[in-house]
Amino acid sequence: MKSEFAFIALPISALVVPSAFAVRYLTVDQAQQAIFPGKSFTAAPVKLTSVQRKAIEQASGVRVLHDEQQVWRVSGGGWFIVDEVVGKHEFITYAAGLNPEGSVKQIEIMGYRETYGGQIRDQKWRAQFVGKTSKSTLKLDSDIKNISGATLSCRHITDGVKRLLAFYEIALRH
């Protein structure tokens, strides 16, 4: 098949882009089915005590931003957690599936917002990942689907998962 490479110069209006790129990949339901296909889920949110919070921070070396953690118990064993991480330029919502014994089964990015000098913690953006209310399917803000060039690192997610594993040990396991 013939290949193609064509550079398209954009009109000025398109170049002065948004202060943020945002992508939404999965709703809570979709993320659950992506990590644990065919299973059912029981909401089991956890509110951390200050003692637990400190213990998690100590064990993981990562700061705990929220006392409240969105957790679901998976039929047949395992846990499904929705979590978020904030970097200097990014706000990422992701889902982590844990096996019954606490190891990571799978991580799926549910969505991210990337801003430079803008407001990272957009409440409306966050709201769409809270609970199971969001019905929307995959949608990208603006028409920009693919971007090439310096991109987000996954360092904050690595830290987030470290924190979740400590959370499991301290707040879920027993």
Partner: protein, 298 residues
């Protein structure tokens, strides 16, 4: 909902130090297979993971042959070819400089000053041996290879169209073309232009957010293997080629050699686009192969 390019499913996972997005006209299982292939590349070629082929080579290959996975061996073979064809500008043994500048972790590696890509010996049994105390890093090429493996996995599952994007190293396949926006070299939430791609891989490198000061001078992670000096101009380089590994490696060469790399780009049937810090293209190279008639620059 079926979009014009037929892409029906889009997933994103943290991998290879970045966010990897796979979109295709396929099933969640197809996407799982593609991510699994990329995870395998990460496991084999990570500089950080002590059990990877790269870490094992860096620990032992200066004393005895180290047997590596066929994939690692293939990437090493390609790296050697890029080194030979660029007269050593591309050199995976520059890892020692990246360690010195803290782009790579020091742990478990001993700094060494001698040796180059010429001291890496590969035999046909997939054994690797270093003639000097060397360390190697496949960071400039393995991400592209991982994208190629993901595309191969999708095709292997009879997926007919898709795109894999590993933080700017991407590859598209299928009959429809995809529009990929290229970030502004200095202001990453602005786009400097867009490229239409079909059946092609593309990689973009820039150093603005990666450059740092070392002893009062700016350094960056893209090095000239002949001199050990880094290229840290505020530009971005985009290369399109048939395979993402090729595009990935060639961006580093365009960074250092600029227009002088035209011959090599032609050999690899690659296209290149160089953006200056104000976001305007200063150089475009069109591969003299069949992409030419479709390459348009308004």
């Amino acid at each position: 909902m079926r979009s014009h390019s037929g892409i029906e499913i889009r997933r994103c996972r943290p991998l290879l130090g970045t966010l990897v997005e796979i979109a295709c006209q396929g099933s969640p299982h197809d996407i799982d297979c593609a991510f699994t292939a990329m995870e395998k590349v990460q496991r084999l070629m990570s500089f950080h993971d002590p059990t990877s082929d790269v870490a094992r080579m860096n620990r032992h290959a200066s004393r005895r042959p180290v047997k590596v996975h066929p994939w690692t061996w293939r990437v090493l073979k390609s790296a050697q070819e890029f080194s030979r064809k660029s007269d050593g500008v591309f050199d995976i043994t520059m890892a020692r400089q990246l360690v010195k500048w803290d782009y790579l972790p020091r742990s478990g590696t001993r700094l060494c000053s001698a040796g180059s890509w010429r001291d890496i010996v590969l035999d046909d049994e997939h054994n690797v041996q270093f003639r000097h105390r060397l360390i190697v890093d496949l960071g400039g090429i393995a991400k592209g290879f991982a994208v190629d493996r993901a595309v191969a996995a999708l095709k292997n599952n009879s997926v007919t169209a898709g795109i894999v994007n590993a933080g700017g190293d991407l590859r598209t396949f299928g009959s429809a073309s995809e529009v990929v926006y290229v970030r502004h070299p200095v202001e990453p939430t602005r786009t400097a232009g867009a490229v239409r791609l079909r059946e092609r891989a593309m990689a973009t490198s820039g150093v603005y957010f990666e450059r740092r000061k070392y002893r009062g001078k700016y350094v960056g992670p893209i090095l000239d293997g002949r001199t050990g000096q880094s290229a840290c101009e505020l530009i971005s380089v985009t290369v399109a080629a048939a395979e993402c590994m090729i595009a990935d490696a060639l961006t580093k060469l365009v960074f250092t050699l600029r227009e002088k790399v035209a011959g090599l780009l032609a050999q690899y049937r690659a296209d290149a686009l160089l953006l200056e810090r104000n976001g305007t293209p200063s150089w475009m190279f069109h591969s003299p192969c069949d992409t030419r008639d479709q390459t348009r620059f308004d």
